[in-house]
Amino acid sequence: MKNFFYLFFKSFLDVVPLVSVLLFFQIFVIGESFQHPLEYLLGLFLVVFGLFLFMRGLEAGLFPLGESMAHSFAAKGNIWWLLIFAASIGYATTIAEPALIAIANKAEIITEGKLSAFTLRNTVAIGVASGIAVGTMRIILGHPVHYYVITGYTLVMIMTLFAPNEIIGLAYDLAGVTTSTVTVPLVTALGVGLASSIAGRNPLVDGFGLIAFAAPTPMITVMAYGIAVL
C-alpha cells in the first residue's frame, strides 16, 4: 500500500511541470480565474491516475512480455519469424494508435473522400511495419543506426520532390503520430530485448534506435499513396 502511494505520488510529480505551465499562463499572462475549478481538479486527478495505471501496466506487462518474446525469438534462431513478428507488431500497434485514427478521419473529411481514412491508416501501418522490420534486421546485423536513418530521410527528401503539395504536410505529421502511446513501449522492448540476447550486441548502442525507423518509412508510403490518388 505504501508502494502504491509512492508510485502514485511519482506520477503526480511527472505532471507537475505541465500543470505549472498551464497555471502560470492562465493566472499571470491571461489573467483570468478558472471557470470550472472542480471539473479541472477531477480531470487532473484522472490524468495522474491514468498515467499511474499506464506506467504500472508497462512495467508489469508490456515491457517484460516484449523482452521475453525477443529473447525467445533470438533463442529460436529463425530470422524470418523474428522479422515477421517485428513487422506484425509494427502494423498492429500503428493501426491501434488513437492519434492516427483521428488524423486519418480528418484527412478524409478535408479531401472530401479523395483520401480514404482506412487506406491511409493501412498505408501508415505498412510503412511502420517495414521500418520496424528493417530496424530489427539492423540489430541482427549490428550496423550503425545513423546509416539507415540518413538513407531513410534522403528517400523522404527525394519523395517530397515528386509528391503533390497536399500530401506532404499530412505525410510528415502522420510519421509523428506513429511513434505514440501504443507503439513505443512494445517496439522499445523488442529492440532492447533482442540486443541483450544476441552475443556482441550492446542494448544501449544496438537496442535503442528502433523507434527511429518508424518515422521515415510511413512518410514515404503516404507520399506514394498521395502520388497515386491526388
Partner: protein, 43 residues
Amino acid sequence: MIEFLNTLVADFLIILRDVAPVLAVVLFFQFAVLKQSLPNPKK
C-alpha cells in the same frame, strides 16, 4: 455524473477495441510460433 460515467465506459470500450489487434499478434506469436506459455501470467 451519469453522462460522465457513460463517456468513461464508452472510451474504455474503444480502447479495448483498439488494443485488440496488438493483443492478437502477441498471443498468436507467443502460443502458435514460440509455443510457450505467458511468463508470469498473473502479472
